[in-house]
């Protein structure tokens, strides 16, 4: 064997680990160098834990009303104060994280699944299929997203789940176009021709070769979109088109407390802060993921 072909020896410590673990380690190495991304990840993790253990950490129930202590400022017994029904705002925010994260995750997963399927079909098969799907995306994108979600909710009826569906639909073209563009690049790669030359059919080429090569941008866009989905859900909630009172959804809380903004500002300040914090967290994490997963940044 010539010298040049022996130089790629891996360190013995890494050899025992599987390829997947090695990839994960490599990803972690570049991700952890990015301080803002770590901050974002910590914030996201904080909210996930909060949602998971809401029942244990919330000092009170979400609908425990006490008219005697309505609109109390933050104090030792109610850290973030109380709202107009005397409910503990901290507890409601903690439980509210469940609603917001649920909308964020499932709306994005829904749009990823539908968007990816449509995008792959458009990019891989091209021609007529591409025209139909791409024009459909253009139509969806022509509406301001909040207007379109309001229209969809208006048809389905206002509720948190319908808001989720509406946000998912609105975001389909975001992923659809992303995947389509990615497929157009990947399908011209020589390894796709090589896959065809060993007798692989379209389905296998799409699922075994094209999709795995499109995951990185989807993950990044997905993380960033969780933030906008949460924001949209809060916006719909605020407009009365999303979660309905007494559900402790952050946007809904803002909406029902907005009349007290001058004499009890904590009733709107803290739900608003929660929204800002979780959105910033997902955005920072998404940017960090992009930097760590972008193949152009590697090597």
């Amino acid at each position: 064997m010539p010298q040049s072909e022996q130089n790629t020896a891996v360190q013995p410590a890494e050899e025992e680990k599987g390829p997947f673990v090695r990839n994960l380690l490599e990803f972690w190495k570049s991700f952890r160098k990015n301080k803002p991304a770590i901050v974002g990840a910590v914030i996201v993790l904080f909210f996930i834990l909060m949602a998971a253990f809401a029942g244990f950490i919330a000092p009170q129930g979400i609908n425990d009303q006490n008219i005697n202590i309505r609109l109390q400022p933050p104090s030792a017994s109610h850290w973030l104060g109380t709202d107009d029904f005397g409910r503990d705002i901290l507890s409601r925010i903690i439980y509210g994280s469940r609603l917001s994260l649920r909308v964020g995750f499932f709306a994005v997963i829904g749009s990823i699944i539908v968007g990816t399927l449509l995008g792959v079909a458009a990019g891989y098969f091209g021609k007529f299929i591409d025209t139909v799907i791409s024009r459909f995306f253009d139509i969806l994108l022509a509406f301001p997203s909040i207007l379109l979600s309001i229209a969809i909710v208006a048809v389905l009826g206002p509720s948190l789940n319908n808001a989720l569906v509406a946000i998912a639909i609105v975001n389909v073209p975001v992923f659809g176009r992303l995947v389509r563009a990615r497929v157009l690049t990947v399908k011209e790669e020589e390894y796709i021709m090589a896959a065809r030359s060993i007798g692989m059919g379209n389905t296998r080429i799409i699922f075994n070769h094209i999709l795995p090569n499109s995951f990185a941008p989807i993950i990044v866009q997905g993380t960033l979109n969780i933030a906008t989905a949460i924001l949209d859900a809060a916006g719909l909630g605020f407009l009365g088109m999303g979660a309905q009172p007494p559900q402790p959804e952050w946007g809904t809380m803002l909406s029902s407390s907005r009349q007290y903004i001058t004499n009890a500002p904590w009733t709107v300040l803290f739900p608003g802060l929660a929204i800002i914090l979780v959105v910033v967290g997902f955005n920072l994490m998404g940017d960090g993921l992009r930097d760590a997963l972008d193949p152009r940044m590697k090597n």
Binding site: M1, P2, S4, E5, Q6, N7, T8, A9, V10, E15, G18, P19, N23, E189, E190, Y191, M193, A194, A195, R196, S197, I198, G199, M200, G201, R204, N208, H209, P212, N213, F215, P295, N299
Partner: protein, 323 residues
Amino acid sequence: MADSILEVKDLRTSFFTDDGEVPAVDGITFSVKEGEILGLVGESGCGKSVTSLSIMGLLPSPPGKIVGGQILYKGEDISHAKESRMRKLRGNDIAMIFQEPMTSLNPVFTIGEQLTEAIRLHKKMPKKDLEARAVDLLKMVGLPRARELLKEYPHELSGGMRQRVMIAIAMSCDPKVLIADEPTTALDVTIQAQILDLMAKLNRETHTAIILITHDLGVVAQVCKRVVVMYAGKVVEQGDVRDIFNHPEHPYTEGLIRSIPDLFSKKDTLYTIKGSVPKPGSIKKGCLFAPRCPYVMDKCRTAEPELTGDRHKSRCFLHREDA
């Protein structure tokens, strides 16, 4: 010929563009015998790659289309075979390796996953045997640390190693014909020689026929037994490597041989064939090589010579008795 495994008869492949039909391959005929290495030589743009893609049924379509002729694999015409039939043949019976080893492997999968892909597609094999087969294949193509390599990703390998992996993938189902489209062009010279040696060795051991597509006559001289020289979509000369090197009949072949740099000559400039390959379809009358030919005769500009000869065929008036 009874022992021909692959016969290309009067194959014509055209591209249909906005400017009309462009005949990239214009009636070529050649055959590959079982277990031989056939060289397919010509300049860029003469239709070598289009020929190989036509055989594999992988022409970009549209705009590419086989408009005439036959491709016989074991006597079966596959030039217009159904996609499902071609999928069974590709990889299993006819395999292909590409010019660019750096991009021919999928970056997100390990060598092992890609190496066993063709076997999983074409043959049923228990998972344990699959890994053993993969290790054997890597050893066969001369790669060290076969077991560890299976778990590595393409970017961890050098170009030469990747081309060996590509050859291993192509050979994984014991194909009868291997089409190698400029397999050494992207590699440096020392690795080139090793890859050619490897292909010659595999050809001896497995008896797989190889169509070696190249623009490098030196490569052909090294490993091939027979050569087909292509010019502007047509075969201009065909025969034994020795005959062609010692007595080239077509001025184009002669030019190609003369342009190989000679280590011992003291000349300052290398020989070149003047001009460049005409655009397909641009020459309507006479011999396609006439505008560049040093021996051009009046006849060449009006009539096109036929491919004549017995074992050593050529398409030129120079060697005709009536010329």
